[in-house]
Structure formats: structure tokens, C-alpha cells
Point group: C2
Chain length 350, copies 2
DNA sequence: TTGTACGCGTTATCAC
DNA sequence: GTGATAACGCGTACAA
């Protein structure tokens, strides 16, 4: 038989290495996995054999027995059905927001030797395929980002029993860990700053209202202003892109020409708003003060630079990674939530 | 023994389904993989059993024998060693360029049932980890994007025998497929347009000169102008971000105050250049004409909208996917290259 | 400390 | 058309 197939025609296997090293498969396996109980001398021999053969463990075989892949998925999802020209991909690869999240996540994953794969779920077809992929055990867990209220993914993930962490409080209570920023507290900071600088006629440009975070920022802003006597706060909805921020500001100007302060739900839209104001001949912040949200580097690209509400995205992302790893190590651990406090960063737009 | 472990405590396996359906494992496997030779009646029964048990094939076991994962990696790499605050992630998640590539790739991958995982290789540590991941057989092949001249990845990939496709002509000849745009032809279009509209003192803002594409655009631009008598064309190097485009334009204005036409190596930098020109009190295009590159939606966000050189990124990405799939199906097929022709898109900036 | 032997869940090659 | 059964490459009790 070819139990000892002599020529490593294809990729070398554990057995080849074992033969070269003159030891058993088990021993090779041990040194590769860093198990202590093995003679240092042999260790050297084995390492040499590994080197010589160019051996690399076969992930399929390995995870078939360990039930681990040492990789997690970062999935960016969006519930709505959209056309092919959908701005979804454009939004993702345009908003510095995501870069900060990725950075924070990799910061904790990489040192622990777990790889991150990024997957997009921009429509139902994508989601179906994604779910199959995940269920098949390609990854040990998933970090889910940017899901809106209708996104079925959180529930699907818990139903599938996959370790997962959300980047937002789930809309419907679910036994799932998540990390979030205190959105309304952030909005309150914005409101109070605008009030403090003397704005009397404030409005707001919100994010997509099917996202909890958008809702919270809007209601938080309104509540804070109500406490200062502003019964009504006009708002226009955007979708977090610079373009919609611009359009929203235009609409606001048309409907409330005397607006003198605007809270915009993210920096990218704020960038657009500032542009629109400039086009309309309004000075920022003298005529209209603008406060953004995120403190992404878009805030610095604006002129004037954006006063904004900073959320510590890198830290939040790192926390997500930690929560996920914890859950992977102990699937029975209780779902946890961690809330971060946003802070006001004053620059020149307000 | 528990060859017939009765209770599917964990995830259901082929064997469970077989038992429920009252057939053999082999049969279940056949219907799952769509092999014809199976009684339609049984097919139904099996399907029902699959449904009932909620069975999902175990990818590890499957690919252990098939040596296929039905997934490919899209890796975005960068050779330089950078600091933690490196703009790399910022660049990726800020440039619409990537969104278009991803979109084009998924357009061909998804219908064929292969999933795409996106991986970042922003430094050596990341690259090492990535390579291990790839060698372990997590994916069937890789599409490599945005590597610069020093990037060791193309060679590492070919050495490892992984099916791969590059998004640019490799700097050193390598037996590897790639897709590219005719960069210098595009630059020539820009040059001729500027000349045609009467520019006499043209300059250019190039991309990072360690990228072949940047070099080609620069030399193509210079060559075309030389043919029109412009012996010298000033240039400043940027790194494809709006911010560097802005700075480069500022520098250009300082050193060549009478510049009346600029070719900028991508739209994002062109956006910054237009901003800088505006700040400097120059009218675009009347005082200074600006031509960008890519025709990303950044071109539309600029005011005035950018005249630019369009490269069909979606099509190019789709072609990359095709080439890769072809190579995966037949690893011995010859490396292929496909070059796309850029076109001039005239808007208002030039 | 090291080796033996079994099992992980599938696919594929056989007979039937 | 269907069912045994042998790989696939590895980790790991268990025995030595």
C-alpha cells in the first residue's frame, strides 16, 4: 500500500516530515503545536525536517479535528434591497469610519494569531451565501457591523449558534454581545455646545433612521434641546455620505433659511453640509455653526475643520474583538455589552 | 461503539441525515452535490431529511478531500514599513477605487457560488500571517491589489504555487496573470486634452513613484507632452489621498506660479488639487485646468466636476476574477494578461 | 518522552 | 441506482 507514499509529489504532509525526521507523526505534530513534552534534540531535528520539506499544516485536516479555524469574519451588512448601483460599497470604501474599526480589530486579533477576513453582505443573495459560508465553519466567529433595524443577520447568527458580536445595540433584544457608544449622550454634547455658543435656531441632519444609532442621535439631540426650551428641531435624513449631507443641508436651508446651528450625524455628511453652506454664501461658523460626529479624518479635511463628537472607534473595535474571542473560548459565557462615552472635540466649525 | 451515535447533540452530520432518510451516507452526499444518478423519489426524501436536521456540510471535511474551498481572497497589499498611524487603512477605506474593484469581482464570483474574503497586508507582520493563512489552503486563489514595486507578495504567491492574479503588471517578470489599464495611453489622453484646450504651462501630480502605474502615468504624460515641444514637465509626488493632492498642488503653485494645466494621477488627489487652487484664488478651469484619473465618484463630488481619465475598474476586476477562476480550474494554464484602454471623460475642470 | 491507533465528516471508488 | 469502504491530513487519548 501507499501508507508510506515515498515521493512528496504534492504538498508535504505530517507523515513526510515524520519520515524525514525519523520520528512518528505524533511527535512532529507535538512540536508544531508547541507541546512541551518533547526532547529538545528531537525538536531541532523535527524543525529542520519541517524546514527542509517546506511543510505547512493543512488547515482543513486540522480544523476537522480541532473544530477551530483561528480566523474570524468581519461582516459589514446592510438589510435593504438595493439596485446594482447601490451606494453601499461606495459608502464603505469611502467612509474613514470603517478603516478605524478594522484597525482596532486587527490590533487585537493579529497578536493572537487569528486572521480577520472581511465580508460584505449588501443584499439578500449576499447574505444567504454569507450565512452558508459561516455555518460551514469557515470561521470561528463573526463581528457584525453596521446592521440596520431590519437586518436579519443578528438573529440568524444567534440561531446558527455562531459566536458573534455586534457593533450596535441590537434593535430587538437578542442574546448577543455588543459594543456601542452612548449615542444620545454624544448628541447631547453637540446640543449643549451649540446652545453655549449662542445658536438659537438649530436643526439636524440625521443618519438613516432605520439605524438605532441614527435614531438615538436624533432623539438625544432633540431631548437635550427640549430641555433648553427648543420645542421643535427640524431634521432631514441623510445616509452618511458626503453627497446626502450636502443635499440635506440644501433642503434645510430652503425650509429654514434662518438656521444658525446644525448637528450632523457623521463627519462625512458634515463635510457635505459645510460645502453646501459655503455654496449658499453662509459663513461657517459665523452664520451657521456645524457639529459633526465620529471625529474621523474627514473632520480635518473640512474647511473650516469640524467641531465634532468623537467616538473611540478603535477602542470600540478592539473591545469587540476581545468580546468575540472570549465568546469563542467559552461559548457558554453570558452575552456582554460595553458602552463607550463620546467626547466633544472643538475645532473651528462650531 | 458510537458509530451510530443516535442523538445529534452537536451539528448534524451526513450520517445523521442518512439515518433519518433511511439511506446511505453516499446517497445523501450525492443529492447534496447534485449528482444525477439518484432516484428522484429518494432525492425528495433526502432533501426533507436535510431540511429536518438542518444539515450543513462541514467545510473542513469536504475540502480535506476535494482540496477546494470555493472561496478566494482579495488581498490589498502594501510593501512599505509604516507606523501604526499609517494612512494605509485610511487610503483603502477612503478611495472609491476599491469599492469599484470589489463590486466588479463579486459580480462574477457570487453567481458562481464562490465567496470572496478581503484581507489586508499592510506590513510585514500582516504579510507573514497572510501567507500562512493562504498556504494552509483557506482559499483556492488570490487576487492581489495595489502592490508596489517592492512588494514581495507576487513572488511569494507564485513560489507557494497559489493561483493568483495581479491588478497591475508585475515589476519584475513573473509567471503570473495580471490585468492592467494602458496607463501611459491614459496619460497621453490627458496631455492631449490639456494641449488642445490651450494650456501652455502644464505640470503633473503623480502617484507614489514606487508603483508601476504611477511611473507609467508620469512618463506617459511627459512623453506625450515632449512630442508637443514641452521639454520639461514639473511634477510633484502624492500618495493618492486628497490631502497629498492638496499639498502637492500648493507646492506646484509655489514653484511654478504660472502653471495653467495639471494632470493629477487620481481623482482623489485631483479633488484636493482643485481645493488648493480654489484657496489660492485660481479659477478652475479658467486659470488652471485640472484632469484627474479613474473617474471615481470623487470626480463628481468636486466642484467643478472633474474632467478625468476613466479606467473601467469594474470590468478590470471582473476580468481578474475570471482569470483567477480559470487558473484555479486549470493550474497549468498559461499566465495571461489583459490590458484595458482608458478613455477621456470631459466635465468641467478642464 | 514517544509511538500506536482511532476518529473528525466528506468525497470517491468500487462492487452490487 | 445504491451502499460499503477507503482515503483526505491531522490531533490526541492511551499505552508503552
Amino acid at each position: 500500500m501507499s501508507k508510506d507514499r515515498p515521493a512528496p509529489g504534492g504538498t508535504p504532509t505530517l507523515e513526510h516530515v515524520a519520515k524525514v525526521a525519523g520520528v512518528s507523526r505524533a511527535t512532529v505534530s507535538r512540536v508544531i503545536n508547541g507541546i512541551r513534552n518533547v526532547d529538545p534534540q528531537l525538536q531541532e531535528i523535527v524543525r529542520a525536517a519541517v524546514e527542509q520539506t517546506g511543510y505547512v499544516p493543512n488547515q482543513a485536516a486540522r480544523s476537522l479535528v480541532t473544530r477551530r479555524t483561528n480566523s474570524v469574519a468581519l461582516v459589514v451588512s446592510e438589510a435593504e434591497h438595493r439596485t446594482f448601483d447601490d451606494p453601499f460599497l461606495g459608502r464603505i470604501f469611502t467612509d474613514p469610519f470603517f478603516g478605524r474599526l478594522v484597525s482596532g480589530i486587527m490590533g487585537v486579533l493579529r497578536p493572537r494569531g487569528v486572521t480577520m477576513v472581511l465580508m460584505l453582505a449588501e443584499n439578500d443573495a449576499a447574505r444567504t451565501q454569507l450565512l452558508g459560508y459561516l455555518k460551514q465553519g469557515h470561521v470561528d466567529g463573526v463581528i457584525l457591523i453596521s446592521s440596520n433595524v431590519d437586518d436579519p443577520l443578528p438573529r440568524l447568527l444567534t440561531d446558527a449558534g455562531l459566536p458573534a458580536v455586534l457593533s450596535q445595540r441590537p434593535v430587538t433584544p437578542l442574546p448577543i454581545s455588543y459594543v456601542d457608544a452612548a449615542q444620545s449622550a454624544g448628541a447631547k454634547l453637540a446640543a449643549e455646545h451649540l446652545i453655549a455658543r449662542g445658536c438659537r435656531r438649530v436643526a439636524t441632519i440625521s443618519g438613516p433612521l432605520d439605524m438605532p444609532a441614527s435614531q438615538d442621535r436624533l432623539s438625544g439631540f432633540r431631548d437635550a434641546l427640549a430641555r433648553h426650551g427648543h420645542a421643535y428641531v427640524p431634521s432631514v435624513e441623510g445616509n452618511f455620505t458626503q453627497e446626502t449631507g450636502e443635499r440635506a443641508m440644501l433642503q434645510l436651508l430652503e425650509e429654514y433659511p434662518d438656521v444658525d446651528g446644525v448637528f450632523v450625524a457623521n463627519d462625512l455628511m458634515a463635510l457635505g453640509a459645510v460645502l453646501a453652506l459655503h455654496d449658499a454664501g453662509r459663513r461657517v461658523p459665523d452664520d451657521v455653526a456645524v457639529v459633526g460626529f465620529d471625529d474621523s479624518n474627514a473632520a480635518l479635511m473640512s474647511r473650516p475643520p469640524l467641531t465634532t463628537i468623537r467616538q473611540p472607534l478603535e477602542d470600540m473595535a478592539a473591545e469587540m474583538a476581545h468580546l468575540l474571542l472570549g465568546r469563542i473560548d467559552d461559548p457558554d459565557s453570558k452575552p456582554t455589552s460595553v458602552i463607550f462615552e463620546p467626547t466633544l472635540v472643538v475645532r473651528q466649525s462650531a
